[in-house]
Symmetry: D2
């Protein structure tokens, strides 16, 4: 059996701005079109909600790794909610379960996910990160860090990394 | 959107006997036929492997919540591996993510899952449990515990619980 | 350096009756007198609170492994609160961090802790458990399970297990 | 009862250089002299080992939050090993259990701890961080981030934060 690749998309929740939401939705759409599974933090908020909405609009499968057991906070667009009830410690599960991690914007939680991904030697694609974020994560992540300037560029990088992990 | 129900099937790994494996495989088949998602501990061992094999033989979708990050220990029949790397603490995620929990046999890990499910007020169906297990879990679980004498009876109970949670 | 032994005392929270609280307090006192560290689930409730009160009354050191980050729910008698914010998944940390586990009474959470302790091959002493609990845990735990009929008897068993783990 | 403050010291393991080890050892010594408890990742490696050695040399109490259950990897200088067996997800416990977090150097794991601390609105003191790390963490952490140029300066900041959290 060959499993479908799982692309983890991490990003700010409530503090995500409309542009970030647009990027996340486009990422979800493209991940679904590529035939991949979308994994996120699963909440009905910000990048998490938008990436799942995009993925479902293109018929994709969506997995959400939830920090709490509050069922009303799950994104409507998550097919498979995994309820951890372990707060931000679930961020490590997000990245360990992803074949490639895309950070769409950078909040405090996202920063922890990028760092945890690097700690486990996972490839990370930064999209819409600040200059300071790019500089810092390149410093500690070296070749594991790539920067994309559009959702499409991020998807191309994923394709490349999935071919040669 | 209405999500597909997730049925968690828990049971012994390496120490599962052939009869338990047969029951687990049949459970997986029936869960898939009912249109539900199969969730398990995800390892290539015992009840976990058998339930996923059964589910895939009937075209179902399978989610495995893995205790370690060793990818070669994932059941071949798991579509979506969630890598927790948190050992037996992941047992709590297994039950929190399941709409109904079926215990197929009882090992030490399974016993922890039944107890954790009860602690979170989840319905548990016992299949092929010992008399001592049934007596104990009824004592601490009351009406949350049901006993099934066949995979089909377990599935009927799940149907009932999904209609009136 | 030789570390002080850590004795984990698990038991019901809000549903603990006065007799169970009395036993827990006595356990804490004896653990402290033996020069050992008391570890518990850390909350200001039931067996957790009583065992820490007992330990502090005899000048012992107390560690509490908290399920949430709500600081006002920590037992007043905990010296070192470890804040996990991971709900009942923290039960696995309770037992892994203990040299010997004493279950003082049996609730749903306690049952998960006994099962998780056995899964990790830890010695468990049952105090004030029901007949059904003793029968079940002996069935799955074999020689790892001991039954004590008093706090003093539980302490004697700990001494024995610490000498020959 | 008034609890002793817990200062979490995070930093690189095997990749820590001698200068970072010296700083960590000095931090541990000063934390102990201030009458506080030292909390770390607990392993017999790098900053974790050095800070505990320093704390013990000044008669302090040391708590280590271990990522695995391998007992031979615990720092000799840890009084209270908390065994999580949950890999890097334990990093969240490190910061939630600390009243103030000091990052001594910055590796990938440390970066995740700083980000998780900020996510939970904890004060973080950076010692011996790179310019890129300081710039990034100030950007996402604002007033929660302080920079110290010596162990003594870090301790002064802790004193201040403990007085007015």
């Amino acid at each position: 059996m060959s499993r479908k690749p799982i692309i983890g998309v991490m990003g700010p929740g409530d503090e995500a701005n409309p542009e970030l939401m647009r990027l996340a939705e486009e990422l979800g759409r493209q991940i679904a079109r590529a035939g991949w599974i979308t994994l996120s933090g699963g909440r009905k908020s910000g990048v998490m909600d938008a990436v799942n909405r995009g993925a479902k609009s293109a018929g994709g499968l969506t997995v959400g790794i939830l920090p709490t057991s509050e069922r009303d906070k799950i994104s409507t667009y998550v097919d498979i909610p995994i309820v951890t009830d372990m707060g931000n410690a679930r961020n490590n599960i997000n990245v360990l379960s992803s074949d490639v991690v895309i950070a769409c914007g950078i909040g405090r939680g996202t920063a922890s996910e990028v760092a945890l991904a690097l700690k486990s030697n996972k490839r990370v694609v930064l999209l819409a990160a600040s200059e300071a974020a790019e500089a810092f994560f390149k410093e500690i992540g070296g070749a594991l860090i790539s920067v994309a300037d559009s959702p499409l560029a991020a998807i191309k990088l994923c394709e490349e990394f999935l071919r040669a992990p």
